[in-house]
């Protein structure tokens, strides 16, 4: 199998032949890059590496326990949208577009969003963030965010992988059961090629192992990269809503119990992300559909005290019609006293898509490093943030842009793309940026989590002040949307 045509003398031959036999016994398949995790980050990285001409001769594998073939063939439902969605910034969308990855998604199911209204329930502050058509980027249209269902993006990426990336092997329906280096191999452990053992007993030995396997990454554990962070003791409840009329604006309201956001989808649909503690989560997750949509209307309009009263009624098992009548009465008196403020309010919810409510826990995880010995982390494996600013996958896509560029340049220079000197360049570019974004998102969460009157008054003052400063607003918009 191995042919190193060498001329050496006796004792050297002995050393080399020992290395020779150890390699023969492993019988692992050899890859340049093995990506663990076929979610949006893993698929986007595979699609990017697979489309770079400089990496054309590289062997790349993408491993996932799911039946990715089915995801690829996904036929979107005609009467609803899925509740797991992503917000993609304009620059990340352009990046995916430039590689031909974006156009393979069902683009008719993508909603452009160029306005966001953020309000504070406690202090009454409001910021209306409208995307500005900046003179410098006139050709780039506006700085808009794109709302897309996670499955729509992943299935589009998988179609691109199958159709235009022959160098990428998709290995589906297998779990990673172990990662280790060859115990008999010589040299420092950090420079040894990891061997990934799969549940079907295949063994892949790789020059570079990518952890795109999410918050509890097994690749990160193998590399011994530590993490720290906080558990927000909260969950995000997501659902698909049908609105009373078409809407292209994102709305977010900070409630003392956590932020609630309504994100636009085409055809009068919207995605709901509502952060709650686990007790309220169970209460709202199991509430009847019609009560739930009334409560969403209420959560965007009513005061904190009123919301507490409604939750109490729900806890006490108030009958559905009585609870709905109570909400309807309170909403009616709200519209009487707040006539004319409709532009800052989302359209009323007509219905919730049946069985669309699902939830996930909210955490923040910071890694000690994005790289280890022949290991690089991308996406949630390298950073977990609160979804309140919709930055999770955007940070992941920026990781991917950076890592693919680093690997492309290293390949052109004939470098070993798994070498620590190469991976250090990726860590140097991305680590601090990710950390800064995680810090900002965490600060926003803490600022709005405070219930003290002084803090809420101060933040509402800040929000209203920001709303009157167009220059500061446009900087904020370009920071979060472009």
């Amino acid at each position: 199998m191995l042919q190193l045509r060498t001329c050496y003398t006796g004792d050297i031959r002995h050393i080399v032949s020992r290395a020779f036999t150890t390699h023969q016994t492993t019988r692992a398949e050899l890859y340049d890059v093995v990506i663990v995790g076929g979610g949006p980050a893993g698929c986007a990285l595979a699609g990017t590496l697979g489309s770079l001409p400089a990496l054309a001769d590289k062997r790349i594998a993408l491993i996932d326990p799911a039946r990715l073939g089915n995801v690829q063939k996904w036929e979107p439902p005609t009467d609803t949208y899925l509740s797991r969605t992503l917000q993609i910034t304009a620059s990340n969308k352009r990046f995916l577009d430039s590689l031909g990855l974006w156009s393979r998604c069902h683009t008719d199911r993508v909603q452009e969003c160029n306005r966001a209204v953020v309000t504070d329930a406690l202090g009454g502050g409001m910021v209306d963030l409208a995307a500005v058509r900046s003179a410098s980027a006139a050709a780039e249209a506006t700085s808009v965010a794109h709302m897309i269902e996670t499955k729509n993006l992943v299935s589009g990426l998988l179609r691109s992988l199958n159709q235009s990336c022959p160098g990428v092997d998709i290995i589906e329906r297998v779990r990673v059961v172990g990662i280790d280096t060859d115990p008999a191999a010589a040299g420092a452990r950090a420079e040894q090629w990891p061997v990934v053992t799969l549940s079907d007993e295949r063994r892949l030995q790789t020059r570079l192992l990518i952890g795109a396997d999410g918050a509890s990454s097994c690749v990160r554990r193998y590399a011994g990269i530590g993490t720290y962070g906080t558990d927000y003791a909260q969950h995000s409840l997501v659902a698909t809503l049908c609105l009373e009329h078409i809407n292209h604006t994102a709305f977010q309201r900070f409630l003392p119990t956590g932020p609630i956001a309504l994100l636009p989808f085409p055809g009068g649909f919207a995605n709901l992300i509502w952060s709650l503690d686990s007790e309220l989560l169970m209460l709202l997750k199991t509430a009847p559909d019609r009560v739930f949509s009334d409560l969403v209307n209420a959560a965007f309009r009513l005061s904190c005290a009123e919301m507490r009263r409604l939750y109490d009624m729900l806890r006490q098992g108030t009958r559905e019609d009585a609870l709905r009548a109570e909400i309807e009465w309170r909403l009616a008196s709200f519209s009487q006293s707040n006539a004319g403020s409709d532009a800052q309010l989302p359209p009323r919810i007509a219905a919730i898509s049946p069985r669309s409510r699902t939830s996930f826990p909210l955490r923040m995880r910071i890694v000690d490093s994005l790289v280890g010995g022949r290991v690089a982390l991308v996406g949630d494996a390298g950073h977990v943030v609160h979804p309140l600013a919709g930055q999770g996958l955007n940070m992941g896509l920026e990781d991917i842009q950076c890592l693919s560029r680093v690997l492309e340049l290293a390949t052109i220079a004939g470098e070993d793309i798994g070498a620590s000197a190469v991976l250090a360049r990726y860590n140097r570019h991305r680590y601090a940026r990710n950390l800064a974004m995680q810090g900002v998102v965490d600060k926003i969460w803490h600022a709005f989590g405070a219930r003290s009157g002084l803090v809420s008054a101060a933040r509402s003052l800040a929000m209203n002040g920001l709303d009157r400063l167009p220059a500061a607003k446009s900087r904020l918009v370009s920071a979060i949307m472009t």
Partner: protein
């Protein structure tokens, strides 16, 4: 430093042989390959590389290091031999058999640089490029390549470099012309010790002639097509 000089070699090969030159499997010899740092990089690009070195130890180190990259070994593009350029030329089919000849940081250690350059040129096919990197003989090079690393910082053993053996770009160009080739281009290789980056510098900085090649430099030459 390896990155900068290897990229320079790639760029020159693409200029001479066309855009996809390195992936077409051109045959390259790396004379005085040492531990195989540049040899491996050139082979990973897609070139077919023979690394030769006079020292058993260097060839052993290079061979063992290459074992760490099984994909590179399987490609069959990398070969090491313990042989000198002069000995290689004695073999029947070695003369004028390489699409490129590379010799990095070697000539400052050889006793007869003139005949060494002659051997390098003899290995190249007519019209093929020859790359030689070495150290100029200047006050600056004595400071940055001998005094500081060998005697002050002691990061390399004292006596590694003999200042008198350093070759100026003019002397090297003369040897190349005498050996039947012509010099194409000379670039400085400047090390940034703070970030440990190395970059290519032009030979002349504006009004300062030869400012870029005061210490380390790389020279690209091309063997004449006619042997007149």
């Amino acid at each position: 430093m390896n990155r900068a000089r290897v990229q320079y070699i790639r760029q020159t090969l693409e200029d001479l042989y066309g855009k996809n030159a390195v992936t077409r499997g051109l045959r390259v010899v790396d004379v005085g390959c040492g531990g195989g740092l540049a040899t491996e990089s050139l082979a990973r690009m897609g070139l077919s590389v023979l690394g030769i070195d006079a020292s058993h130890e260097n060839i052993a180190v290079a061979s063992i290091h290459a074992q760490g990259d099984p994909i590179l070994i399987n490609s069959g593009r990398l070969e090491y031999r313990q042989v000198t350029a002069e000995q290689l030329l004695l073999e029947s089919n070695a003369t004028a058999s390489f699409d490129a000849v590379v010799s990095l940081e070697v000539i400052e250690h050889v006793n007869d640089p003139r005949s060494f350059v002659q051997s390098l040129v003899s290995l190249a096919k007519p019209g093929a490029p020859i790359f030689i990197s070495t150290i100029n003989r200047t006050m600056l090079s004595y400071l940055v390549d001998v005094l500081v690393p060998e005697y002050l910082l002691r990061v390399i053993p004292a006596g590694t470099h003999e200042f008198d053996k350093f070759v100026t770009p003019e002397e090297l160009t003369g040897m190349i012309v005498d050996a039947g080739a012509m010099a194409l281009d000379t670039r400085g290789l400047i090390l940034d010790p703070v970030f440990n980056n190395c970059f290519l510098a032009p030979k002349h900085f504006g009004l300062l002639p030869n400012a870029g090649v005061q210490a380390n430099y790389i020279l690209a030459a091309r063997k004449n097509t006619s042997t007149s």
